[in-house]
């Protein structure tokens, strides 16, 4: 759509706005409220919930950033 515009104008149009960016808040929500996971059970191979939950949360963080990256690539 912007092909006919000169380079400078095309650059001026750029922005990082995207509704996908809101997904970046999810990793914060699941990790920054300790009452959510500050307990022992259910345990996993003898590891209390507190610990394995936060290890799983790493995966949530990665997934969110990958999705945002892929959906906002230009």
């Amino acid at each position: 759509m912007a092909e006919h515009l000169p380079d400078a104008a095309k650059r001026a149009e750029r922005s990082d706005h995207s509704p996908w960016n809101w997904l970046l808040l999810l990793p914060l929500a699941v990790t920054l409220y300790p009452p959510l996971y500050n307990r022992e059970s259910p345990d996993l191979f003898g590891i209390p919930f507190f610990y394995w939950y936060q290890m799983v949360a790493i995966g949530i963080g990665v997934t969110c950033t990958i999705v945002v990256y892929r959906m906002t690539r230009r």
């Binding site: 400078a8 650059r11 001026a12 750029r14 922005s15 990082d16 960016n21 970046l24 808040l25 999810l26 990793p27 914060l28 990790t31 920054l32 409220y33 300790p34 009452p35 500050n38 307990r39 022992e40 191979f45 003898g46 590891i47 209390p48 507190f50 610990y51 936060q54 290890m55 949360a57 790493i58 949530i60 963080g61 990665v62 969110c64 950033t65 990958i66 945002v68 990256y69 690539r73």
Partner: protein
């Protein structure tokens, strides 16, 4: 100096260390530039690192040797609170994802090398830029010193004592950093990270197996903390520490990419996509850090006693030695040597990048700004190379001449003061609403509150008979009890967070005040579109006619 040394461990350690040092010197020819005598080349590796190099570089930069010994030591001593390193390094990437690409873009267009360069151009205030630069240098120096503590912990565990080995190690480090610049740590980071991954993966498989499984390990930890008179420790967070846990993780995450060495790694990236991809890929290190933290519990089960600990006097000893001691006990000598080398080399990468970042701040924001206004690129590079040496000598002197505790205290404060540059740098990327003098006032308020709060924090030892000994009267940690502000609560909050809140409030109020007084705003040398520029866009510095 070499009493009771394990010869096999020391040999493996030395061979790997020497091999890596050789790599550091060779790095000057890697991706060889036409001319290393330019800050873009020496200090930012040519601004051309792709996704893989950036991943190893930033990973090697953020997850330091000190982290690798101190996090498990904290878990060993206090339990769950030490695990804050995991949420901290989960949330940091989504938080900075959008921020860093803006910073990269505007820096790419203008040729900024440091965060203070950006502050100067954006807010039109050399005073504010100077404050940001000095804050960065002060926050980074003790961090470099602490990398030496990491190496020292490993040497101690091998039975090597005395200061000579560490002086030799740092001299070699200083020489190849001077010679090769950012290319040296970038190349060494490959070796460091591969060794670290190897060691940790072996450790979390072999050690729990030897200790009888995770049930046993956590059982031993629970028994230890149940017997301990300290109400704040435990396998789970005690009630009042939950807010501390969250604010410590969040505050540390906000601070991480304000550190000049983190920004150096980011600005060395080739384009925006390299940064975005890395924000998704860097948590692989977080996973390793989480596993490492659990080594603290394994050390409890394995009944590791920190070096220097003495039950009779209640001296807890050097907690930083527990991971090396655990490796020593659990692994055959040759593999323990590999593990020690991983930690030792792990100290070199961040120490090199930190000294480069501090040197760049010196050159760009003090030397060029105040001493030699018309410095040529060659003079800039020379100034940075020399400054990187001075910074390392300073760090070495701090560890050898002063109590290492001084560096630990300073690093604690370092995290708090670097956070005070957030309004000028991060908010500055998004808005020009804040007045330059408002930002300076906020910075000052944040510094005062940060120092005051950490000064108030005591380090307590809970004795078995129920009494409390004040081990340190001041600077005893970063958890600030809210009761000191008059709240009727046992809740504890991260002191840096408190300081940042004060900073932001003063920034806003002072901005309104200066506007009302009609104090002129600074001039903004950047344009809106420059915050979205990518690789391939012409750089202003390549087009001098646009600038003037």
């Amino acid at each position: 100096m070499f009493d009771n040394v394990n010869a096999v461990q020391l040999t493996v350690f030395t061979v790997l260390f020497v091999a890596v040092s050789a790599l550091g010197f060779v790095a000057a020819r890697w991706r060889r530039p036409d001319d290393l005598e330019h800050l873009d080349e020496w200090g930012l590796g040519g601004r051309n690192f792709g996704s893989w190099i950036t991943w190893f570089l930033i990973g090697g930069d953020l997850y330091t040797a000190y982290t690798f010994v101190a996090v498990p030591a904290l878990v060993f001593g206090a339990g769950a609170i030490g695990f804050f390193a995991v949420p901290y390094t989960i949330v940091v990437y989504p938080i900075v994802f959008l921020v860093l690409i803006r910073l990269w873009s505007v820096s790419h267009v203008h040729g900024f090398v440091t965060p203070a360069d950006f502050v100067r151009a954006r807010h039109g205030s050399s005073t504010l830029a100077l404050l940001v630069a000095i804050t960065g240098i002060i926050a980074t120096m003790p961090y470099i010193a602490l990398q030496l503590v990491g190496i020292e912990a490993v040497l101690k565990a091998m039975g090597v004592t005395g200061h000579v080995p560490i002086i030799v190690a740092f001299t070699i480090l200083a020489a190849y950093t001077y010679n090769s610049g950012l290319r040296a740590p970038a190349l060494i980071a490959f070796v460091k990270d591969i060794l670290i991954y190897l060691v940790i993966i072996v450790a979390v498989i072999v050690i729990p197996y030897k200790l009888g499984g995770w049930d046993e390990i956590f059982g031993a930890a629970e028994a230890k903390f149940a017997a301990s008179p300290n109400p704040g420790d435990g396998v789970l967070l005690a009630g009042p520490s939950q807010l501390q846990y969250a604010t410590l993780a969040f505050g540390s995450a906000l601070a991480l990419f304000l550190y000049p060495h983190s920004i150096t790694g980011v600005l060395a990236a080739r384009d925006r996509n390299v940064i975005k991809r890395n924000m998704a890929a860097l948590p692989a290190y977080t996973f390793i850090l989480g596993l490492l933290a659990l080594l603290g519990y394994m050390a409890i089960k394995a009944e590791i006693v920190p070096l220097g600990a003495d039950k009779a006097t209640g001296n807890p000893g050097d907690g930083n030695t527990i991971v090396p001691l655990l490796f020593d006990q659990m692994f055959p000598s040759w593999f323990a040597g590999v593990a020690f080398a991983a930690i030792g080399i792990g100290a070199l990468v961040p120490a090199a990048i930190m000294s480069i970042a501090a040197a760049n701040l010196w050159t760009r924001n003090i030397y060029v700004e105040y001493i030699n206004k018309n410095a040529t690129p060659k003079q800039e590079a020379k100034s940075s190379k020399l400054a990187s040496l001075v910074v390392k000598v300073g760090a070495l002197a701090a560890i050898l001449a002063l109590d290492p505790q001084f560096s630990i205290d300073l690093q604690l404060i370092g995290g708090i003061i670097i956070l005070q540059t957030l309004p000028a740098v991060v908010l500055g990327l998004y808005t020009r609403w804040f007045h330059r003098w408002g930002l300076i006032a906020g910075w000052a308020a944040g510094m005062v509150v940060g120092f005051w709060a950490t000064y108030q924090i005591q380090q307590k030892i809970f004795n078995a008979d129920g009494t409390i000994t004040i081990k340190k009267e001041h600077f005893g940690g970063s958890g600030f009890p809210l009761e000191k502000l008059g709240f009727d609560t046992t809740t504890v909050i991260y002191a840096g967070f408190l300081a940042l809140v004060a900073n932001l409030i003063v920034c806003a109020l002072a901005t309104l005040l200066f506007r009302a007084m009609k104090v002129p705003d600074g001039e903004d040398a950047t344009q809106h579109s420059e915050y979205f520029a990518d690789q391939g866009d012409p750089r202003l510095r390549d087009l001098p006619e646009i600038v003037h």
